[in-house]
């Protein structure tokens, strides 16, 4: 696997391992030194970012042929070889830069946001571990390494959501996130193993490696070893993983709850990077999915439905962070839909811009929460004057999210929508509707929380310190310019999508309509929102119950799983196995003893009688003989 152009030295390893080294150092030295641990974490990730940037420059400068792979063997058995390494191609380089870049900003932001927290060092330790795990996914050379990182980000997410473990809601949310992801990973793991098992007719040539599989797949299909049915199964199982990690319906339930974690965590993990891992994985394995039209169909529909359904949930949500969480779901739905429609470059494009503006939105929300300790948008208000930087950043992020022309989100969303327009009319309608909904709910959030005059005084609300606003400004800048960096070209999309005029027009209409309606309702108060709530009473009822997923799952876990299945097994165990089989055997032995004991009366004369009778009988028979 040695590429002649490979002259990148230890840089890939530095990129991958410096956050892990930071995490280890925090664990060993930093657990009682707050400053040290935050410096280590920020330094580790910044180092990673710098080396990733150097890698990129190096690659561009020397025109190295990508992909470059460098790896060590992790498990080496005659029938099973697993390596661990770094795979550099445009996809992974871009994602690495996003993760480490956005991550560094958020780490920096956290040093201030979490400054009063007693679990400061633990927070940064786990955050660093998260960064390492995420990079393991991004730079993975093979499915198993990807799965390794996949599970580790799941763990980091669990630990960070439950950072305030004494709060039952946070502890439960962490557990829920981990469990939902575990269920999804059940499918993912099976998919990976199945793909491995079918990767070659020869047991010794099976592989997890992306590059080998990619090269081998057409051949496998051609020779009939890998039948379309099996491939569909594998594709859907692997998609299961993305379903959990990228929180697509019906496994989306953990993401809104994950907002119980500290806000920077929501920004980094539950908006910008980890939840995007599912989409990243789909793009990484696009060579697989492009052979499975049926799986692509499923993926596109799941994405489209999630995009629209989550946007609707955001309409009636009042918690600032949860609005953003539903928005994340919805945007991830866009990306998944794009993959399903065959546009993995568009998906990655949107992933990147989304990472910028959604991190921005979350950090701005965090800034508000830090200042006011409130999250309900109706309890906020008037912040536009009190916190101008935060408010402007939120607005820029919101406009980018809504796809306001000229901002980054506009370009990436346009890429997806025009793709949908070309390939699937119904999904395009869903997407366009989502765009309108997006514009409406984000405008509502900004107008109500920031723009609307305060109804109670927020005199104490003041702008956050510069270490928090700094990342906001940088991310705001990125949210504006990311559309002009030529990302699609970098990702290998040679002909730029010329958005059809219809698509652009409809999008503009949707954005304008959404903003306008929000303005009319919440600022002008020309239209009463009660009117809508009354008009769509039934639908609001459904939305308030979040389509009933949570109830269904809670019912399943509490009633079916815990009370029926587990208790049934418990009854079998206690009564059938222990009570009947084991104690029954013991009882039988005792009962036999009780019966036979009756012979032992303890009356010696009886024994003597038996004895004498016996002797007489014996002697008599002896004489008779």
């Amino acid at each position: 696997m040695v590429n002649p152009g490979l002259n990148v030295g230890l840089l890939p390893w530095l990129t991958l391992f410096s956050p892990l080294a930071a995490a280890a150092a925090i664990l060993v030295f930093g657990i009682h030194h707050r400053r040290l641990s935050s410096s280590l974490a920020v330094g580790g990730l910044a180092l990673s970012f710098v080396s990733a940037a150097c890698l990129l420059l190096h690659v561009l400068q020397h025109r190295l042929i990508l992909p470059i792979e460098t790896a060590v063997t992790w498990i080496s058995l005659p029938d099973l070889t697993v390596s661990f390494g770094v795979l550099l191609d445009p996809l992974s380089l871009l994602m690495t830069l996003v993760v480490t870049g956005v991550g560094s900003g958020i780490f920096l932001y956290s040093t201030s946001y979490m400054s009063d927290d007693p679990g400061y060092s633990r927070y940064f330790g786990v955050l660093s571990l998260f960064a390492f795990s995420m990079l393991t996914i991004v730079l993975a050379t093979n499915w198993l390494q990807l799965f390794l990182g996949w599970e580790l980000v799941g763990f980091s997410s669990y630990a960070l959501i439950g950072h305030w473990y004494a709060k039952p809601a946070a502890a439960d949310a962490g557990k829920k996130a981990f469990m939902v992801n575990r269920v999804a990973d059940f499918g993912f793991m099976l998919g990976i193993i199945a793909l491995w098992a079918w990767s070659s007719p020869l047991a010794s040539e099976r592989t997890f490696s992306f590059q080998v599989l990619q090269a081998r797949l057409p051949h496998l299909l051609e020779m009939g070893w890998l039948t379309p049915h099996v491939l569909i199964g594998i594709g859907l199982l692997i998609f299961c993983g993305a379903l959990g990690k990228s929180a697509q319906m019906p496994l989306h339930v953990w993401l809104p709850d994950a907002m119980e974690g500290p806000t920077p965590v929501s920004a980094l993990i539950h908006a910008a990077t980890m939840v995007a891992a599912g989409v990243y994985m789909l793009c990484r394995a696009f060579w697989l999915f492009e052979h499975i039209p049926m799986a692509l169909q499923v993926i596109a529909w799941v994405g489209g439905i999630t995009a629209c359904a989550a946007a609707m949930l955001a309409l009636i949500e009042n918690d600032l962070k949860r609005i953003l969480a539903y928005s994340t779901l919805s945007q991830l739905g866009y990306m998944v839909m794009a993959v399903g429609l065959g546009g993995e470059a568009a998906a990655m494009y949107h992933l990147t811009t989304h990472a910028f503006f959604k991190a921005l939105l979350f950090l701005a929300a965090g800034s508000v929460i830090h200042a006011t300790h409130r999250q309900n948008i109706w309890e906020l208000g008037g912040l536009h004057k009190a916190m101008p930087i935060t408010s402007w950043s939120f607005l820029i992020g919101g406009l980018a999210l809504a796809g306001f022309p000229g901002l980054s989100g506009f370009f990436s969303k346009e890429a997806i929508l025009s793709l949908a327009y070309e390939r699937n009319g119904v999904l395009y309608l869903l997407g366009a509707m989502t765009a309108a909904l997006t514009a409406f709910y984000i405008a509502r959030a900004w107008l109500v929380a920031f723009f609307r005059p305060a109804h109670d005084s927020h005199a104490h609300a003041h702008e956050s310190p510069s270490v928090m606003t700094g990342p906001l400004i940088v991310l705001a800048g990125l949210s504006i310019v990311a559309g002009y960096l030529g990302l699609p070209t970098f990702l290998g999309e040679h002909e730029a999508h010329h958005g059809s005029p219809v698509v652009v027009a409809v999008s503009l209409l949707a954005v304008g309509g959404g903003f306008g309606l929000a303005w009319l309702i919440y600022v002008q108060r020309a239209i009463s929102s009660a009117l809508f709530l009354e008009r769509f009473r039934g639908w609001v009822w459904v939305l308030e119950r979040k389509y009933g997923f949570d109830q269904l799952y809670n019912w399943y876990v509490d009633v079916v799983q815990q009370r029926v299945i587990a208790q049934a097994c418990q009854l079998v165990e206690r009564h059938l196995i222990i009570g009947f089989a084991v104690n029954g055997t013991a009882w039988l032995t005792q009962a036999a003893g009780r019966v036979i004991r009756r012979c032992q009366t303890g009356v010696i004369q009886q024994y003597a009688l038996v004895f004498v009778t016996g002797v007489v009988v014996l002697v008599y028979t002896a004489i008779r003989r």
Partner: protein, 521 residues
């Protein structure tokens, strides 16, 4: 073979705890400090020896090394024969780690310290004996030696299993059940072993000689078919194979934590080790016939054990049932008879031993501090026990197969190894991982997170380096093997490969019998 002079290392590993047990008999009971020091020194010596063997095992030569042979009853062909191969080395290291940590954890014992340590050291010696002996007689002898001390250890120093504040299983019940169950299993196995001994016609109980003999002239298939289940069920009881598992969770729960550590960590591996070493390795035909049944039972272990664990409220019962669930993976790895699966099984014995020892040590600490291990009464302990809670999360994650811990690698190998022949079992094994995380997360959530229960006494964390040492050793070993499994796997592979090769040869010799061995496609 390494130079003969080095074979004393293995003898040291085995005899150090035995010598310490004898020494303790003459130490006055009042000298509890010295009693503990002697135990720590002895197990420390064993650990040092085990590490030496692990690092110096000659991988180029493979086979049995550090051999020592002392003829004993030559008319019956019984000799005291020590030696380890890759599997033995791995398990000796596991046991040395667990025993050392267990002795440290036993510092919590304050009642009749001297007698406790004597029994504990006898138990340790017995387990070492099984893993190091290369003579069937002595394997059986040490096996019994390991089982018997459990009775006083649980009966005297144990604790009752309570539910809703009421005694559900008394410690006497647990001790009695465990001892009778394991002895009954051993008797079954003894019948099989005697039968095997008699029908080999060699007049020797030397394992190496038997292996050699049976690989050249296999036992008649009809005999293999009858002897094999005797050994598998007999040793399966301690493994613990479903449905003969019910002694184990209750026994674990009632035993003092250091005993549970050894018990779940190592003692249960005696069963799977003996099945591998005596049944599968010596009787390939029997293995081919019976192992598919075993593979079916394993799934019951995995799924059923996991589901029952979900219903438990006693921390130790949860971990106890989880052990019986995870041992299902070990048995599955053995049953699938592929090199990958077998390596996974042995690696999982190692990984699960460390993980479960860690878990029992932690539960022991929680129980000592709060005097309860009833889940509904616990909560929020992470605040007062940060170190223990961290280790608790680690143990839970290791148990649920998080990458980075040895359990992940081992379970992966078992599942991958099972995939070709036993796909349904492999799928259900993956499902078992999900079930594990359900109850493990519930345990962590209920014990360490959430609101602290104000009525509990104030719990003190393990703060001194000495108190933390056992936890650090166990987590360190789990992490080290999990992050860099290659050396250990290749070591195990050296010794599993000959077993697989023998079975493949038997398969080739007897075509037409139901195939469980994948040659090629």
């Amino acid at each position: 073979m390494p130079p003969l002079s080095s074979s004393w290392i293995l003898a040291l590993v085995l005899l150090a705890p035995a010598a310490a047990a004898l020494l303790l008999c003459v130490v006055p009971a009042a000298q509890a400090v010295w009693v503990r020091r002697i135990a720590v020194l002895a197990t420390g010596a064993s650990l040092a020896g085990a590490l030496t063997i692990f690092f110096h095992y000659n991988r180029a030569l493979a086979g049995y090394q550090y051999e020592m042979l002392v003829p004993w009853i030559s008319s019956l062909g019984i000799s005291f024969h020590l030696g380890v191969d890759g599997i033995g080395t791995t398990l000796v290291l596991l046991h040395a780690l667990c025993a050392f940590c267990g002795v440290l954890i036993s510092y919590a014992i304050t009642d009749r310290v001297k007698e406790y340590y004597i029994f504990y050291l006898v138990l340790i010696t017995g387990v070492f004996g099984v893993f190091t002996s290369l003579d069937v007689f002595f394997i059986y002898f040490f096996y019994e030696m390991a089982v018997i001390p459990m009775y006083p250890l649980i009966g005297i120093w144990g604790s009752d299993v309570k539910e809703h504040g009421m005694v559900r299983f008394s410690k006497e019940y647990a001790a009695m059940k465990l001892t009778i169950y394991l002895t009954a299993g051993a008797v079954l196995a003894l019948v099989g072993l005697l039968w095997l001994y008699a029908s080999s016609g060699l007049q020797t109980s030397d394992l190496v000689a038997l292996e050699h003999h049976f690989s050249l002239t296999p036992l008649a298939p009809h005999l293999q078919r009858m002897i094999f289940p005797l050994l598998v069920i007999g040793f399966g009881v301690i493994a613990p194979m479903w449905p003969f598992h019910s002694w184990s969770p209750i026994g674990h729960a009632a035993a003092p934590s250091a005993v549970s550590m050894l018990h779940a960590g190592v003692l249960m591996k005696l069963g799977s080790y003996a099945i591998l070493r005596l049944a599968v390795s010596l009787m390939p035909d029997g293995a081919r016939l019976w192992l598919p049944w075993l593979a079916g039972l394993c799934v019951m272990n995995i799924i059923y054990g996991g589901l029952v664990a979900m219903a438990q409220k006693d921390l130790k019962l949860i971990i106890g049932y989880s052990s019986s669930s995870h041992m299902g993976y070990v048995l599955l790895g053995i049953a699938v008879l592929t090199p990958v699966g077998l390596n996974g099984a042995v690696l999982l014995m190692f990984a699960h031993g460390l993980m479960t020892a860690l878990a029992f040590a932690l539960v022991g600490h929680v129980y000592d501090q709060t005097h309860t291990r009833y889940l509904p009464e616990l909560g929020g302990l992470a605040k007062s026990l940060p170190f223990i809670a961290t280790c608790g999360v680690i143990a839970a994650m290791a148990s649920s197969g998080l990458p980075g811990f040895a359990n992940f690698v081992a379970e992966l190998l078992v599942i991958v190894g099972a995939w070709d022949q036993y796909r349904l079992q492999a799928v259900l094994a993956v499902l078992g991982v999900v079930i594990t995380s359900v109850y493990m997360l519930r345990l962590v959530r209920g014990t360490f997170f959430g609101q602290a229960n104000e009525s509990l006494p104030h719990a003190r964390d393990a703060t001194t380096p000495f108190a933390r040492l056992p936890y650090l050793i166990l987590t360190g070993a789990l992490l080290a093997v999990g992050c860099w499994p290659k050396p250990l796997i290749s070591l195990i592979d050296l010794s599993t490969r000959p077993i697989i090769a023998r079975i493949a040869r038997a398969q080739a010799a007897a075509p037409g019998v139901g195939s469980t061995w994948r040659e090629s496609y």
